[in-house]
């Protein structure tokens, strides 16, 4: 009797688990659909004249017969507008690549110094890194803007990149990652006659690669989508990035919405591709900040 009851119990439990699993998975399916909806609506709208967006707002209309590729043909037509768009695209690419490479290298060196050595200012420096996270960038924005002007870096990529080069969260992440690496490697390197800098680049950098991947993607996302600061620094139209360029299309009367909607959809693609390739590193990258609290 007892045996039968327990097998019935078990079957009941399995059924409950199945229902739970279906419900929980179903909830995330629903949530994903809701989250994906605005992008889907934008993608559908990009196959219709942009003027409809001004006249009707955005809603999903799946009538394929009224869709066409005109907006995309326009973007690839090679006319003045399309050349402008691809210039923004190139500028964004350039800014992103330069930002990622420089930020990662410099933050790696800084974190290496703070993590791998015992020295008098170690704790002070570490505290200062954390302190910079405690003041939102927007407060420093105006004095920084004046500073960049007086340094004659206005309208230059250096002016856009330099203030953010030593990103506290990036340094912090490298620090977290390197804390778990064996310091005996340094001594081994020293015994082999390598100097401090050679050890840092030749021995430690290769084994820090996973941290580089994680930070590269977060850093790339930030640079690709950065808007406020480049908006202040880049003055001439030939420097505009995608975010600033698309923003200039937002005139209420213009007929630029063709380019805006198709251009916006294309602008998501590169960073989406990077994300899909490296997404497994993202969660590691984000563990960084959350560990210490």
């Amino acid at each position: 009797m007892a045996v039968r009851a327990s097998s019935k119990d078990r079957r009941g439990m399995r059924a409950r688990r199945l229902v739970g699993s279906v419900l929980a998975t179903g909830w995330f399916v629903f949530l994903s659909l809701v989250v994906f909806f605005p992008i889907f609506a934008g993608a559908v709208a990009s196959f219709r004249p942009g003027v409809e967006l001004i006249r009707r707002g955005l809603s999903v209309n799946l009538d394929v017969s009224t869709m066409n590729l005109n907006n995309y043909n326009y973007l690839f037509s090679g006319n003045a507008d399309s050349r402008k768009y691809w210039m923004w695209f190139r500028n964004s690419m350039y800014l992103t690549i330069v930002t990622v490479v420089l930020t990662l290298l410099i933050c790696y060196f800084v974190a290496y110094g703070i993590t791998m050595y015992e020295f008098r200012l170690k704790r002070v420096l570490f505290f200062l890194v954390i302190a910079t996270m405690m003041v939102p960038f927007e407060i420093l924005m105006l004095p920084l803007y004046r500073e960049i002007i007086s340094m004659r870096l206005i309208n230059t990529t250096a002016g856009v990149i330099l203030p953010g080069l030593c990103g506290a969260s990036t340094i912090f992440f490298f620090h977290q990652y390197m804390s778990s690496l064996p310091r005996e490697l340094l001594d081994a390197g020293r015994i082999d006659g390598a100097n401090e800098y050679r050890i840092c680049v030749g021995i430690m950098l290769p084994i820090t690669k996973p941290a580089f991947s994680a930070m590269a993607i977060l850093c790339a996302m930030g640079a690709w989508n950065n808007m406020l600061w480049p908006l202040l620094i880049y003055r001439s139209a030939d420097r505009f990035t995608l975010t600033i360029g698309l923003n200039t299309l937002l005139t209420p009367y213009g007929n630029n919405y063709d380019m805006l909607i198709a251009g916006s959809m294309l602008a998501i693609l590169p960073i989406l591709a990077v994300f899909l390739l490296f997404q497994r590193y993202i969660i590691d990258g984000m563990t960084a900040g959350a560990v210490k609290g």
Binding site: S21, A24, T25, L31, S32, V35, P38, I39, A41, R55, R56, G57, L58, S59, F109, V110, Y112, G113, Y117, F119, K122, L125, L128, M134, V135, P136, E138, I139, L140, L142, P143, L144, E147, L162, P163, L165, C166, N195, E196, C200, M221, N225, L232, T243, L246, L250, S264, A267, I268, I271, L272, F275, I282, I283, D284, M286, T287, G289, A290, G293
Partner: protein, 298 residues
């Protein structure tokens, strides 16, 4: 030769490595921070900067537009904290349990909004919340049998649009924070609790929540700053820095309006200093209440 030896010594090396940070800290953090405070006591013209004492702050006290901006930012911060902490945490707990299938897909999907720049997402939301009958949100209302709404012209409906935009962008990100926090919880704790016959609710309350605390405090701290300093979302939702009756104006929006659009840097810096004091004060109180300072003393 002597210099080279000094540069290569084990004592000098950490300072050489840390040098970029020290420079960046002095030039791009301390200096602008002090400038912001100094400028807030000045009236700044094209070439001149005159000391005006507390005049900018006295003006702020009487400036109704600034008060609107503070209230808007404050409301936004409170609502985003109330929405973007419990729900992502719940989703993370759900996803961490082994009843959800194909987790990777949903994690990636929920993260995608964070990849879109505010220009794009803000514009998409602005057009979805269009006042026309044919805008997506009014289509939804008409399905529910309600009349169309001028979403972005009314205070509370525009607040909904703004919060939806914010939740849309950050739910996936915050969920990942909580997921990474959950990863560090020892699974044996749950196993031994199960042996003791603990229910799902009891495990959540006595194991998950207390051990997620560092993550929660971290997310709360950054949410408070991000909420108070919100600007671009509102800038894009109204396609510019002006909204009817300033319903979308935030503190940073006002700072931008005064400093960049009207070139009144001194007054704008006073706005910035108030923002900084507000942010620091709220976070100090919050961190104090959460006992974060005691932990470091121990």
């Amino acid at each position: 030769m002597k210099f080279k030896k000094f540069l290569y010594s084990q004592k000098t090396a950490p300072y050489v490595f840390a040098l970029p940070f020290i420079l960046s800290f002095v030039i791009f953090w301390i200096y602008p921070l002090i400038s912001a405070i100094v400028m807030s006591f000045q009236d700044i013209g094209a070439v001149t900067a005159d000391w005006v004492g507390l005049k900018n702050y006295a003006k702020l006290l009487k400036d109704n537009v600034f008060h609107t901006a503070v209230i808007n930012s404050f409301e936004y911060m409170l609502f985003t904290c109330a929405l973007l902490i419990p729900f992502p945490m719940l989703f993370a707990v759900l996803m961490d349990s082994n009843i959800v299938k194909a987790k990777g897909v949903w994690k990636a999907m929920l993260y995608v909004p964070a990849l879109t720049s505010v220009v794009i997402s803000g514009t998409l939301f602005r057009l979805m919340f269009s006042e026309y009958r044919t805008g997506q949100m009014n289509v939804v209302l008409s399905i529910l049998g309600m009349a169309p709404v001028k979403w972005l012209k009314i205070k509370w409906t525009s607040e909904i649009a703004l919060l939806l935009l914010c939740c849309w962008r950050w739910t996936g990100v915050n969920m990942l924070y909580f997921l990474s926090g959950l990863k560090s919880i020892d699974k044996e704790l749950y196993e031994s609790a199960e042996i003791d016959g603990a229910s799902f609710g009891a495990k959540l309350r006595y194991i998950t929540l207390p051990l997620l605390r560092p993550t929660t405090i971290y997310v709360l701290t950054i949410s408070i700053y991000a909420g108070l300093a919100m600007f671009l979302e509102s800038f894009m939702l109204w396609a510019g820095n002006s909204s009817p009756h300033n319903i979308g104006l935030t503190i940073v929006g006002y700072l931008y309006k005064r400093g960049i659009e009207k070139n009144d840097m001194g007054y704008a810096c006073a706005v910035g200093v108030v923002l900084m004091v507000l942010g620091l004060a709220i976070n100090f109180v919050q961190l104090g209440l959460n006992g974060s300072f005691q932990k470091e003393d121990r």
